[in-house]
Symmetry: C2
Subunit: 195 residues, 2 copies
Amino acid sequence: MSEARIAEQLGFLAEIDALKSVVRQSPLADRSRRENSAEHSWHLAMFALVLSDDEAVDTAHVIKLLLVHDIVEIDAGDAPIHGNHDSQAVEARENAAAERLFGLLPDDQAATFAGLWREFEAAETPEARFAKTLDRLQPLLLNTLTDGGTWTENRVTEREVHERYGPTIERGSPALWRHAKALVRRHFADSGAQR
Amino acid sequence: MSEARIAEQLGFLAEIDALKSVVRQSPLADRSRRENSAEHSWHLAMFALVLSDDEAVDTAHVIKLLLVHDIVEIDAGDAPIHGNHDSQAVEARENAAAERLFGLLPDDQAATFAGLWREFEAAETPEARFAKTLDRLQPLLLNTLTDGGTWTENRVTEREVHERYGPTIERGSPALWRHAKALVRRHFADSGAQR
Ligand SMILES: [Ca+2]
């Protein structure tokens, strides 16, 4: 490795430290604070390592997609699932973020990392679909562990949970959606919240 | 996947959410707070993805080792590099933690994950050595970005930095130690801190 290459790589790694300061809506399981996007990305990579054992996907590739998928939020911010967004504006911000942030890397790696991010966003490969499944399943699990978490805060109904989480989770893993749906059912039954 | 298997897997994934609350000594690059072990693990996985391109290691395996390497801290706590530890007591606590935490997984996965953790600790495979290199390089980088970080707090000299970081970083990557040593030199030259 040349000195110049290492310097660019460490420059990128220093810059993405900022993902630790992007705060998401989801609570931690112990409700002490909200989750940030860096620790969320670690948690998702662990979801992939644990849950992809029976799935027909390349686990290592799913993990790479998940490690990289939120880096654009450093410039573009997190777009919460329970909220209205101008999706064109979000897309434009995220594209600019990808260009600036991955552009800090040596050219060959800039292309590779931007490619991973675009693959995740497109959700067409089996690995990207499964990564999207996990990105929806993880906050669902946190909500069921915290008396409804963001659902309670935003008065989200069981039907809306099905609409907002179901298609993405089921597309990557029918088995995980079957299980998740049962957790959701139990939460709404126990809480007496609106269905 | 059977329902019972998924239930065990999600139980483990809920339990390890607690790694987000294990606080390390290292500051974030923007000095807003100290780093936690979950976001540290994400950052290290990104170091592996970026820096292993020229190294003769299986990148995906390095990433798996790094994702798992700190999970025992949920029960055993973080053992800071600049401090005195009873290493036998630390080892006993970490072994008990590994047994309890990985034991939450289905048996086959419990063995796999405990194996990844032991491989990292033993630092004998090329992947484990490189993972250890990154685990030392990342806090070194954060310290150089924050006017010395934990070195300044603990009055660590340049010579002590060489002793405490050098062998582990160099063993996994002479090129990265050469680069890191130059960053350390520049920090101590600029700060006028004791060599
Ligand atoms: Ca996300």
